[in-house]
């Protein structure tokens, strides 16, 4: 498949730069710590379908990076590979400085991942969900209580700590999932459609928490969304994915300017994604999205 010729390389990082970078990691020294995510030709195929096609991106430490794109563009697949849920078919990536294929275990120690679907357990209390994470991440017993409390307070859930999650609202569940993912203070948070299915008020609360998380802890965030408003509120840099590739990349302002005066991110989105894709999104993905939406409401 040909790369759409609308790519604006001046907003992103020229691919040639990245390849040179990846070829000589030893010389990178301290500067490589500026990049929390670096991919090089990251590719994922499901049979004939190329879900992610030689993707090369970098995410700067302490920033929020948005992967935008229509359903089936390969955003979630990219994120799952970077979160070590499955290895790439081709290409490589470093997350928090570790190779996702050869050092998956080290990567996992430094990341938090909130899937699009509902990952908090409804039959446990909020505190129990957090306690599970604390134990799995090896947070020492002496620190567990204070970490759990801190995360609950940060997400505004302290009063509901001992309530069953099945009695939470969608927005509360999302914040609990964020609390779970930040408990071990990861360098990088992966958020797959963080506000999918939330009402505008709940969504605003999640945005505030995420911005505060970045400001207070310096957490880098890589999120996927097809909500332009969300990208505008959260991201310093966005990349628009289309058919598994980056169609455009840059700051939200730069991307808007590139399309024309007075353009919104919505305009940018439809300009670069050609209004959607005909294939790509799998039945399974659609099913999971629907489950996620219905459970969060």
């Amino acid at each position: 498949m040909k790369q759409p010729d609308v790519v604006k390389p001046e907003f992103g990082i020229p691919a040639s730069d990245l390849r040179a970078h990846a070829a000589a990691p030893a010389e990178q020294g301290a500067t490589s710590t500026d990049w929390v995510v670096e991919t090089d030709g990251l590719t994922c195929r499901f049979g004939d379908l190329v879900a992610v096609d030689h993707l090369t991106i970098r995410v700067r430490r302490g920033t929020s990076f948005g992967l935008l794109g229509p359903n089936g563009a390969g955003k979630s697949t990219t994120m799952k590979m970077l979160a070590t849920l499955f290895p790439p078919t081709e290409g490589s990536a470093h997350v928090a400085g570790f190779d996702i294929t050869t050092h998956a275990q080290r990567v996992r120690e430094h990341i938090g991942y909130v899937p699009q679907t509902l990952s908090a357990d409804g039959n446990l209390t909020g505190a129990e969900n957090l306690l599970l994470s604390a134990r799995l991440y090896g947070i020492p017993r002496a620190e567990r209580g204070s970490r759990v409390r801190e995360a609950l307070e940060f997400m505004g859930l302290a009063d509901f700590a001992n309530g069953l999650v099945r009695s939470y609202s969608g927005g509360m569940i999302r914040r609990l999932e964020l609390a779970q993912a930040m408990l071990h203070r990861p360098v990088l948070l992966f958020l797959d459609e963080p506000t999918i299915g939330l009402d505008p008020v709940a969504r605003r609360v999640v945005w505030d928490r995420l911005n505060q998380l970045r400001d207070s802890y310096g957490t880098t965030v890589l999120l996927t969304t097809h909500d332009m408003d969300e990208a505008d509120h959260l991201c310093q840099e966005v990349a628009i994915m289309h058919l598994g590739r980056i169609a455009a990349q840059g700051t939200p302002t730069a991307l808007k300017d590139s399309v024309g005066p007075g353009a919104t991110l919505d305009d940018v989105f439809s300009h670069f994604s050609g209004g959607g894709v005909l294939r790509g999104e799998r039945y399974e993905d659609t099913r999971q999205t629907r489950i996620a939406v219905s459970r969060h409401r």
């Binding site: 990691p25 990178q28 301290a30 490589s32 710590t33 799952k80 979160a83 070590t84 849920l85 499955f86 470093h94 928090a96 400085g97 570790f98 050092h103 275990q105 080290r106 996992r108 120690e109 430094h110 990341i111 938090g112 991942y113 899937p115 699009q116 679907t117 509902l118 990952s119 908090a120 357990d121 039959n123 446990l124 129990e128 306690l131 599970l132 994470s133 134990r135 799995l136 991440y137 090896g138 947070i139 020492p140 620190e143 069953l164 779970q180 071990h184 203070r185 990861p186 360098v187 992966f190 099913r287 999971q288 489950i291 996620a292 459970r295």
Partner: protein, 275 residues
């Protein structure tokens, strides 16, 4: 290797634990939440107890009168009680995977898999919690069998041994179910396979008749069926007259071997659910 994180970044806390300490803690973490959930909503445990009651009270009582099953000096009801217990453990455990597929669809499995927890610890934690689910069935069948006049051994050592076997059997068949879940990945396919597997496993075992009356080919299959060893061990421990075919130690050993093998396979397959 490039520098991973800022100095003093607290994210590398996992390093502070020893390897075995981390294993133990992770297994405990998983088993703990599973058991909390089970105790919070015990309806599943209650429905589990229904099946063995029907088998013992209806099937057992009728066959005790009419059947000519060669059970040696043991009466048929006493012969049947361990078989019914093992069978109810199998039937309840074999659908354990459904819950795991549900967790996969929700994203709970993905959340576990992106953590640095050992995959083997996640699987073992699940297996151990599933093992404890068998306890309720053991209590029900023991009590009911006593009530119906079966020749039950009530010595504490034998009771504990029986309970241990039930937990081991429950964990073994639940891990088997987890493997099927990793393999088929959808609930619809799982239901079909679960049904197809349970009946042959049940009938190709010594649960309701002794292996000695089976045709040669079926006897051969029964020898490789873990359920046979669960039933046999329970028969030795539960009822008087040393009614088991193999020594109890051998039954334990075979089940432990099967459990180890299945846990290893499940550990290998479990990450597939994160895809």
């Amino acid at each position: 290797m490039r520098i991973p994180a800022k100095p003093g970044s607290p994210s590398a806390v996992t390093v502070s634990l020893t390897r075995s300490g981390a294993w133990g803690q992770q297994i405990y973490a998983i088993a703990d939440v599973e058991i909390r959930k089970l105790l919070r909503d015990p309806t599943e445990l209650a429905t589990r107890s229904l099946q063995p009651v029907l088998w013992l009270v209806i099937f057992g009582e009728v066959f005790n009168r009419v059947a000519n099953v060669p059970t040696g000096t043991t009466d048929y009801l006493s012969f049947l009680a361990p078989g019914v217990l093992a069978q109810s453990v199998l039937f309840a455990s074999i659908f354990f995977g459904i819950a795991v597929i549900w967790e996969k669809d929700l994203g709970i499995v993905q959340k576990l898999l992106v953590s640095p927890a050992y995959r083997g610890a996640l699987v073992l934690g699940k297996a151990i919690s599933a093992g404890f689910r068998g306890i309720v069935q053991a209590v029900i069948v023991y009590l009911l069998a006593l009530l119906l006049g079966a020749d039950i051994v009530t010595a504490p050592g034998s009771l504990l041994g029986g309970l241990g076997l039930v937990i081991l059997g429950s964990a073994t068949f639940s891990t088997f179910s987890l493997i099927i879940a990793c393999w088929v990945r959808t609930r619809e396919r799982f239901m079909g396979i679960g049904q197809v597997l349970t009946m042959p496993m049940f009938f190709a075992s010594n649960a309701i008749y002794p292996v000695s009356i089976m045709p040669g080919w079926l006897r051969w299959i029964a020898t490789f069926n873990p359920l046979t060893y669960l039933v046999d061990g329970l028969r030795s421990l539960m009822i008087h007259g040393n009614a088991g075919h193999y020594p109890v130690g051998w039954d334990f050993l075979v089940l432990c071997f099967a459990f180890g093998l299945l846990v290893a396979l499940a550990t290998y397959l479990y990450p597939r659910l994160g895809r």
